[in-house]
């Protein structure tokens, strides 16, 4: 992490921290570092900072370090941390806000696989109304360049009647399109 002058960082990034508190609806300042969130976190062994450290870094205003971390992209949102927090902080909800902030600020290097998964997933939902897994896998593999990822499951899934070649299209597709356009600014 290198050296960080905390008082300067705190001043510079106060508005960021306030926004995370506002957006997530979670008052992270209540945290007193008992670290129960990290103790129970199924992702912590694959993270660069455990969840309690992320919260502390946020309180100290360390915006870049937090948004560039692996941690926010390893979090699976299982909510074990939220369940066990004795200060009543929904830690997983903070992680959601941080992921959205990271994308907004352009810190996406460590997030490429997650983002392309989410984009491929949501593209099929926006287009057909429901998830279309073969389509999602194909788009995702094209985006990541990992063309054979999970392809070994394709044929067995089809043979077991667990995957269809064609998507189901719901009637309310226009409504779905409208929802996506309004929330994502027409993207």
């Amino acid at each position: 992490m290198g050296e960080v002058n905390l008082s300067q960082v705190m001043d510079r990034n106060r508005s960021f921290v306030d926004r995370v508190i506002e957006e997530s609806g979670q008052d992270i300042r209540q945290c007193y570092q008992c670290a129960k969130c990290s103790g129970g976190c199924p992702g912590s062994s694959a993270m660069d900072y455990p969840p309690n450290q992320i919260i502390r870094m946020l309180m100290l205003g360390m915006k870049e370090e937090v948004l560039k971390s692996h941690t926010i992209w390893v979090c699976m949102g299982c909510n074990t941390c939220t369940t066990r927090c004795i200060r009543d902080i929904q830690v997983a909800a903070v992680m959601d806000t941080l992921r959205q902030e990271a994308v907004r600020a352009g810190y996406v290097d460590k997030a490429k696989l997650v983002l392309s998964f989410n984009e491929s997933f949501l593209w099929t939902v926006r287009t057909f109304g429901r998830l279309f897994e073969p389509g999602m896998a194909m788009i995702n593999n094209l985006k990541t360049g990992n063309f054979m990822k999970d392809m070994q499951f394709g044929l067995p899934l089809m043979l077991k009647g667990k995957a269809s070649m064609f998507p189901h299209r719901i009637k309310g597709r226009r409504e779905m399109k409208k929802i996506f356009e309004k929330v994502q600014g027409g993207k």
Binding site: P42, M76, T80, T83, T97, Q100, V114, L122, H168
Partner: protein
């Protein structure tokens, strides 16, 4: 007859098709009516709530609004991820009128909150239905040891997703398994995370988590793991061969859905219940209870 709005979610028609097949078969046998939400869409799952807060509420709110056209008071979602998204809508929109209006402005039919979310396991594990199950058991699953695996998002966080079960040591599925004549094993991984969509984005870590779950189930003497969430089930069942290869072990642990086990005990045909759809061959387990 008890009626519920039923939200299958995308998995129950694809990867978790046997969960849908067995749910319908078992509900019919128990006199429970499951009415499918008309023209339902995908709830957006974790991809939506990682992307945009409003999107993550609008997608499930559309479904709940459509459920309000059905003659029901409650809705169930057999998938833990869908359940969690409905719970988030009830929790957030129930507390914030302004947010509710904002979400409703995106929808053609407004969400009012009239149809309440019910925990899927609870429609079987409530005392009345449990008594009904006990009465209708034709082939008790004697001697079958079952590791009950609940999935994180049905039980966590309790304040938001449900009010009927313990998030650290839930009992609803254990009670069902007992009613079937089988034995739920004591094990510590009932609600540990399977890695969810990390199977696609960070496979090594997902494989590790699944290995831990499978190992604990085996060491606890389980003949099978009963799942309640289609994503957990897919990770443990379809990806089990990946886990075995990576860790040089052989589990061959069948991962049926709890509804498939209820169906077996009620004497329904394993084919109707979707047993041939499982990746890990359940024949050892079926032989043990005398149906194969």
């Amino acid at each position: 007859m008890t009626k519920y709005a039923f939200y299958p979610g995308c998995s129950l028609e694809t990867g978790g098709i046997e969960y849908g097949m067995s749910s319908h078969a078992v509900a019919e046998a128990l006199g429970i009516e499951l009415l499918e939400v008309p023209d339902w869409n995908c709830c957006g799952a974790s991809s939506a709530h990682m992307t945009d807060h409003l999107l993550s509420l609008a997608l499930p709110a559309r479904i709940l609004a459509l459920a309000e056209t059905l003659p029901v008071d409650e809705i169930v979602a057999p998938c833990a991820a869908c359940h969690a998204r409905f719970a988030a809508v009830e929790y957030e929109l129930g507390r914030d009128e302004e947010l509710k209006q904002k979400v409703n402005s995106l929808l053609e039919r407004p969400y009012t909150g009239k149809v309440k979310l019910r925990y899927y396991l609870d429609i079987f594990s409530n005392s009345e239905t449990l008594a009904e199950i006990e009465k209708k058991v034709k082939k008790p699953l004697k001697g079958l040891k079952v590791a009950c695996y609940y999935g994180c998002l049905f039980v966590k966080p309790p304040k938001i997703v449900n009010f009927v079960d313990d998030p650290e040591d839930p009992q609803s599925m254990d009670n069902i398994i007992r009613a079937l004549g089988a034995e739920p094993v004591q094990w510590p991984y009932k609600t540990e995370c399977c890695g969810a969509s990390l199977g696609v984005t960070l496979e090594d870590h997902c494989t590790k988590l699944c290995n831990d779950i499978l190992r604990f189930a085996r060491d606890s003497g389980a003949d099978c793991i009963a799942a309640a969430c289609p994503l957990c089930q897919a990770n443990l069942d379809m990806r089990q061969v990946t886990v075995e290869k990576k860790y040089g072990v052989s589990y061959r642990m069948p991962i049926p859905f709890f509804t498939q086990l209820i169906g077996l005990a009620l004497g329904l045909d394993p084919k109707t219940l979707g047993f041939p759809k499982l990746f890990v061959d359940p024949v050892s387990m079926l032989k043990k209870v005398g149906v194969a």
